[in-house]
């Protein structure tokens, strides 16, 4: 289903941007938003993967 593929793409894009910022710059000030985005984008990816698996 295209809808879940879109959700998956959004999750990966956000995860990539977050990983980029984690790799380039790590400080105690930006750690909290970085972890929040990491959790939320992983949640999006896992949710989309579960939905795609259920479509089978």
């Amino acid at each position: 289903m295209e809808a879940y593929k879109t959700l998956l793409a959004i999750g990966y894009t956000l995860l990539l941007l977050d990983v980029f910022s984690l790799v380039i710059y790590r400080s105690s000030a930006t750690l909290f938003p970085q972890i929040v985005v990491l959790i939320l984008s992983t949640f999006m990816i896992v949710y989309a993967i579960i939905q795609i698996r259920n479509l089978k």
């Binding site: 809808a3 879940y4 593929k5 941007l17 980029f20 910022s21 985005v37």
Partner: protein, 333 residues
């Protein structure tokens, strides 16, 4: 998934990334503005009356910041450096552009992702309820009010909220990402301060997105309610709760996932206004500052990082999808 498809997909990604770099370089290289224009306005020639040679050498240096020389060589240099992960240095702050973006990116992602998810889940709930109430007085009043609210630009909400809640009643701070009195780290006072400072930016983005989701979900629910399979389920005696959740909700929500892409783009552009209004140190604020000071390496860096992330994110999603769902045997005739 076959190899031919994979090679074609990878080639399209490489072409897209290359085109992104070339277009972003061309747009700014041929722009009539230069960082020199910005710096020169702060220079008073009278202050250099005693040392005219210092003034002329400064002007010569600033002129080197303007695009010069053979554009092809300049483009090749830029592309080569970018492909090696070197986005250059900010002309104004002399800090690596990648670092500037990496510092600002978590704050923007934090407010954009949080507001998007809150508005999405609230929007589908409220929209679904309004869909069931179609034709009632509540539905008519809500739809008209939401349509009016949707037409209000995001910066109006931002200005109103900061004026009322921050300047007039002092309930929320007027700017910044966290208080200077807390120690940055993974501790409760700092997290509370971050959430407190992010409340107004997140709230502003949530209001704008929420209105859109409610209206879309309402329209989708009304459309699905008229489908034959819903009537069949009702006639078959399936419980109302199950019909609403599994038959209507699940089908009405699907087109909204596709709209999420547009909403993310809208939130990123909206965050430029929101961050500027709330003095939030995100990418939007960085972009506005780099545009006003004609700091073109930073501008190009922001565009390239976001576009490349979208292109690569889509590629990984395609690969994962074709791996997960055997029906999607992409590339096979």
């Amino acid at each position: 998934m076959n190899n031919k498809w994979l090679i074609r997909r990878l080639a399209s990604v490489i072409v897209a990334i290359f085109a992104t770099i070339v277009i972003s370089w061309a747009l700014l290289e041929f722009s009539p503005y230069s960082p020199a224009n910005y710096i020169m306005q702060f220079i008073n020639p009278q202050e250099f009356a005693q040392k005219p040679e210092l003034y002329s050498s400064l002007i010569d240096y600033l002129n080197t910041l303007r695009p010069h020389g053979n554009p092809l060589i300049s483009a090749a240099d830029y592309i080569w450096n970018t492909l090696h992960g070197n986005l250059g240095f900010s002309i104004i702050s002399n800090v690596p552009v990648a670092q500037l973006i990496a510092v600002a990116l978590p704050w923007t992602l934090f407010i954009v992702v949080t507001s998007l998810l809150i508005s999405f889940f609230l929007g589908i709930r409220i929209g679904q309820k309004l869909g069931y109430m179609r034709g009632t007085k509540t539905d008519s009043i809500s739809t008209v009010s939401l349509s009016i609210l949707r037409s209000v630009p995001i910066y109006i909400y931002a200005v109103l909220l900061i004026y009322i809640l921050a300047f007039t009643y002092h309930i929320f701070p007027t700017g910044g990402a966290y208080s200077v009195n807390v120690t940055p780290g993974f501790n409760l006072p700092f997290i509370a301060s971050v959430l407190y400072h992010a409340f107004l930016p997140i709230f502003t983005l949530t209001i704008v997105n929420l209105v859109g989701w409610i209206l879309q979900m309402r329209a989708n629910t009304i459309y699905v309610l008229g489908e034959d399979f819903v009537n069949f389920a009702e006639v078959s005696g399936i419980k109302k709760d199950i019909i609403e959740k599994k038959f209507i909700g699940k089908n009405a929500i699907l087109p909204l996932y596709t709209s999420l892409v547009i909403a993310i783009g809208f939130s990123f552009s909206g965050s430029v206004f929101v961050e500027q209004t709330f003095s939030y140190p995100g990418v939007g604020n960085l972009l506005i500052n780099s545009i006003t000071s004609n700091d073109y390496p930073t501008e190009m860096g922001v565009f390239i990082i976001i576009i490349v992330a979208v292109i690569v994110g889509n590629l990984i999603a395609d690969l994962t999808y074709s791996f997960l769902d055997p029906r999607a045997k992409v590339g096979e005739e």
